[in-house]
Amino acid sequence: MKRSVFLLGLVLATVWAGEARAQAGIERNPGYVNFADVESWFDQEATMEVNIKGALLKLVAEASRYDDPDLASMLGKLKAIQVRGYTLTPDEVDGISRRTSDFSRRLEGQGWDTVARVREDGEDVHMYVKAGEDAIDGLMVMVVAPGENETVFVNIVGNINPEEIGRIGRKFDIGPLDGAVVRERGR
């Protein structure tokens, strides 16, 4: 009996450790951005939340293989796609814009490069990449759009081909990425 309990405990501990390792694995990735900070800025829950990673991301990649093998191959190199969208009330605009700017500075301090910072028609778009040794390890996009009453945060983790970001946007219906093209530095 004691032996069975011991074995059961061992199995449970192994499973738990495996899951914890997998989670820690993503968080240790240099292109990963922890959205807990962003979530704490809002009193309300996100109106849109997307977390595609692990086995689910592999499934999406495999499902695309027949129609679009290039896209499947690109998705196969990604580790995670995270999106948060929030409704933005007029009272919140200044506060969220300020926090987004602070967050941008923090990303820069952590070695992220600014790719675009655009203000157009009252909409602020910040786009950052985390460059690895010979590829991009992560992408972070923040959009504050008071005119649309919304703000959106996107983080893509993994080996990203910068010229294919727009395709990821179209595949997952992520508006801020649709049509986006990031040129690698030095190209």
Partner: protein
């Protein structure tokens, strides 16, 4: 042939009598919505609860249907261990911006991961999943709009089934269980 035709109603009757058309979990979620929105009316269209026995039976029945499509369906069903599905027609559903389903929070506390969660005025979608051995093993889907409520929970090795479904919906997870689009 006559023997097959006799067998089918017998098997269907045994499924219906063995609780395959009721799911406490789905009924509970439905009641939660009705409590939150007393003015809304949910009319049951389909409620199914198939365990390994029923799914094996359906898989067997699909083998009796001629054609490659049926054989393909039978192949997918072999990987699935449990299916719960509820489809309701919705009337008088107010704006869904503040929709909160305690059942879905509970699933997250139990280790389910959120794949997609959207909440708009006229539609709310939740897709939660659990993975094991590098495969999606559990999927919970909740789609509520002004016309329909769809709740589905699947357990098993869902790789082949989801891969096929995603390929057909062009990879859009939120389109998997929408009706009439």
């Amino acid at each position: 042939m006559a023997r097959r035709l006799t067998l089918v109603p017998v098997l269907l009757a045994s499924m219906l009598l063995s609780g395959c058309i009721y799911s406490r979990e789905i009924a509970h979620t439905r009641r939660e919505i009705e409590r939150s929105y007393p003015e809304a009316r949910l009319h049951r269209q389909v409620v199914l609860n198939f365990g390994p026995g029923s799914l094996g039976l359906i898989s067997l029945l699909t083998h009796l249907v001629p054609g490659d499509g049926a054989r393909e369906v039978a192949g997918y069903l072999q990987d699935v261990e449990h299916v719960k599905l509820g489809i309701y027609e919705v009337e008088n559903m107010p704006a869904l911006d503040d929709l909160h389903i305690a059942r879905l929070d509970r699933l997250q506390r139990q280790g389910w991961e959120v794949a997609v969660k959207t909440r708009e005025e006229d539609e709310a979608v939740w897709i939660l999943y659990r993975e094991r051995d590098d495969s999606v093993r559990d999927l919970y889907l909740f789609v509520l709009d002004r016309d329909d409520l769809v709740i589905a929970r699947l357990r098993g090795d869902l790789r082949r089934l989801l891969q096929r479904a995603m390929a057909e919906s062009d990879g859009d997870l939120t389109d998997l269980f929408r009706r009439g689009d």
